[in-house]
């Protein structure tokens, strides 16, 4: 039995995503494919940017995978004291807002590194190592170790076992992780804006520069189209490779038992992993240190300066951006929970239409936040709907990025609900609406609580879309941090560090609050 209003649930998400994602995307395509936009493709500078974007993404991916694999093995297959701590240390960077990652590396690296390829690559490795550890490690945990045992009893030494058994079976997971890291680094915005320079610029940053500094909207739109095409290409190629390499295999249902560290090879891998965990902690420590470092002594000057309205931060005191961030986050969470919740219901209650909606809602996740923000900007800054200068456009952009996460959190919970419960309720004389309220809603609301936490974290740290949409007199925390970092001098970098710490604490509180609500069957991404 289905709740009768299944299709009604779908209306809101379809309308929302249609108006605020599909329409802007079409506008971007339209502007980007116009002759004046296509001019940008004739410029050598554009291709330098494309080349740099690709090179840095390839380098970052290769290095992330090379460093992530031993760590994935160590934390998911070896038994050692502090394993969970090391796992958290390696995964925490991924939840940091990108602008904070940028700020942390500005605090850690000598100033001469700013604007170099090396700085960008190092920050990208720091940020994405969690992807490899999680994706490959998660797979590794369920890889039946008896294949390796069988190979050993057949006379294969450790290297041969790795080459002929472990690696071929692991390859699809490594490929999946590599594709993700490549996409994240190819579309990286916050990190590159903060750490890059005139010659070290990605397509995303160039879109921003053309929009904000050069007012070349058609050129920016063309770069968006280029970006979308590149992402599609990567997805298609990765999908093909994955199909070709994938091996049908039974995975162990329970995770495989961890094994004690005995072999010399295991000891080496563990040592490498521990060094990585320490290295990953360094930028965060440097950031905290910088917020208290005034000249050659320690002090609270930068923290005090956050409350002062002064020439350093244009019109607003840095503290004010906390209020701005929190109110935008509240609006974004509300939108994401209502739209995402309705979408999850529609997907769970209908068959074919539901799958289509599911795919459609995931699209904003595959589109870069910069494109989302840029699209909203050029679509709603002109009549008939001029939302420029209206604050609501910011939470809308942030909600678009958060909705897929809410759907992913809520959907598995709704699907796990035993349909017979609804049937029992019906036979007891409950109307469909009443059944939904009494059976589905309690489960739903709990999962939505978790989804709300994800949405809050996304909104608080969102930088790509917000950069295009935030009003200058109402910057969010990440925007304010970005502004401070774009100005020279210790006053600004010190305040940026302090504000980054504030942002991390606020975000962590939001996530921790929702961890407590976490339903055991709530899905994770």
């Amino acid at each position: 039995m289905q709740p009768p209003s299944a299709w009604w649930f779908g209306l809101l998400p379809v309308a929302f995503v249609g108006v605020f994602f599909a329409w802007p995307l079409l506008t971007v395509l339209h502007r980007g494919l116009s002759p004046e936009g296509l001019d940008v493709l004739g410029s050598a500078a554009t291709w330098r940017v494309v080349r740099f974007t690709t090179v840095q993404a390839l380098l970052s991916t290769a290095l992330t995978v090379a460093l992530g694999l031993p760590a994935a093995y160590a934390v998911h297959r070896l038994d050692f004291r502090g394993r969970r701590l090391v796992l958290s240390m390696l995964t925490v960077p991924f939840v940091l807002p990108t602008v904070v990652v940028g700020a942390a590396f500005r605090a850690l690296l000598p100033e001469s590194w700013t604007g170099t390829l090396a700085a960008i690559v190092v920050a990208h490795v720091f940020f994405n190592i969690a992807v490899v550890v999680r994706v490959v490690g998660g797979f590794w945990t369920h890889l039946d170790h008896r294949w390796e045992d069988a190979a050993r009893t057949l006379g294969a030494g450790p290297l041969t076992v790795w080459r002929t058994v472990t690696w071929p079976l692991l390859r699809p997971a490594v490929l999946a992780a590599s594709a993700l890291v490549f996409l994240f680094t190819f579309t990286s915005f916050g990190v590159v804006l903060v750490l890059g320079g005139p010659t070290t610029t990605t397509i995303e940053v160039e879109i921003y520069r053309r929009t904000v500094q050069l007012f070349d909207l058609p050129g920016a739109a063309t770069l968006c189209v280029l970006q979308i095409l590149a992402v599609l290409l990567v997805l298609v190629v990765a999908g093909r490779l994955q199909r070709r390499l994938s091996v049908r295999q039974r995975l162990a249902r329970a995770s495989v038992a961890l094994r004690p560290v005995r072999a010399a090879a295991d000891r080496t891998v563990l040592a490498v992993t521990l060094v990585e965990a320490v290295l990953v902690a360094l930028p965060v420590l440097a950031l905290v240190a910088q917020s208290f470092r005034v000249g050659d002594h320690w002090g609270l000057d930068w923290w005090r300066a956050l409350g002062v309205e002064g020439p350093t931060t244009r019109d607003v005191a840095a503290w004010d951006s906390i209020r701005v961030s929190l109110s935008y986050a509240a609006a974004a969470v509300l939108i994401a929970v209502v739209v995402g919740g309705a979408a999850a219901c529609a997907i769970a209650y209908t068959r074919r239409g539901g799958d289509l909606l599911d795919t459609g809602l995931m699209l904003p996740l595959g589109t870069s936040a910069v494109t989302v923000g840029f699209g909203l900007l050029i679509t709603f800054a002109v009549p008939p709907v001029d939302l420029r200068g209206s604050w609501i456009i910011v939470p809308i952009g942030q909600a678009l990025v958060a909705i897929p996460l809410v759907v992913r959190t809520v959907l598995p919970v709704l699907r796990s609900l035993d349909p017979r419960l609804r049937e029992v309720a019906a036979t007891l004389g409950s109307s469909p609406a009443r059944t939904w309220r009494s059976i589905d809603l309690p489960v739903l609301s709990r999962a939505l609580g978790v989804g709300a936490g994800f949405a809050a974290a996304v909104s608080l740290g969102e930088f790509g879309a917000t950069s295009f949409l935030a009003r200058t007199d109402a910057p969010t925390l990440p925007i304010q941090i970005g502004r401070l970092l774009s100005r020279p001098g210790e006053v600004n970098s010190g305040q940026a560090a302090a504000l980054s710490v504030v942002l991390v604490v606020v975000t962590a509180l939001a996530v921790l609050a929702t961890e407590r609500l976490r339903h055991p069957s709530a899905g994770a991404l």
Binding site: W147, R152, L154, G155, A156, R248, Q249
Partner: protein, 228 residues
Amino acid sequence: MSAGLAVAGVSVTLGGHPVLDGVDLRVGSEESVALLGPSGVGKSTLLRVVAGLVTPDAGSVMWDGVDLAGVPAHRRNIGLVFQDAVLFPHRDVAGNVGYGLEAAGVGAAERRAEVARLLGLVDLAGFEDRAVDTLSGGQAQRVALARALAPRPRLLLLDEPFGALDRDLRERLGAEVRDMLRAQGIPAVHVTHDDQEAALVADRVVTLVPGPDGARAAEGAGAGGAVA
């Protein structure tokens, strides 16, 4: 010293739980021994100790009087057939059977001939190019057996290799394997929890008996109330 396998006083603790408590086991160089005992008693663990996949906390594993402590699994030349075949999913039948020959550096042509011979031996001639997920349970176990025989092991450990098959097929395969191993002069340890199967496949029966500090070994069937 005596020829063949000599396990003496082997104790193993896994994840804090005692599994084996001073187990002794001897297998002559042409002998086939059945290892009986209720499920979960530690039979598989004992095989893994002999194969070199688990390091015992105490005791020794010797072959022809030479201590195997410190000899890794891939240098022991002791074959192991798992309960559920554990064929490599990314290799076809020939790739599975020939795996040990590849590891030993045998050339492609010689390998092909040897794989064909082994597949004939287990009654699967012509199966070289089959994907392993298209095999029936019985066929998969025969491939696993051929794979284990390929590197010419000095001892073959069989961990309830036909446990998942129905009785008729199990007994027929059991007898086939016994004859095959005898013909090639390969000693074997054949784990089972079935008295009749044990009598069929082995010259001698050893039973693992559960105890408070892990299992201990006893000569003969039924010593610890082995179940059928």
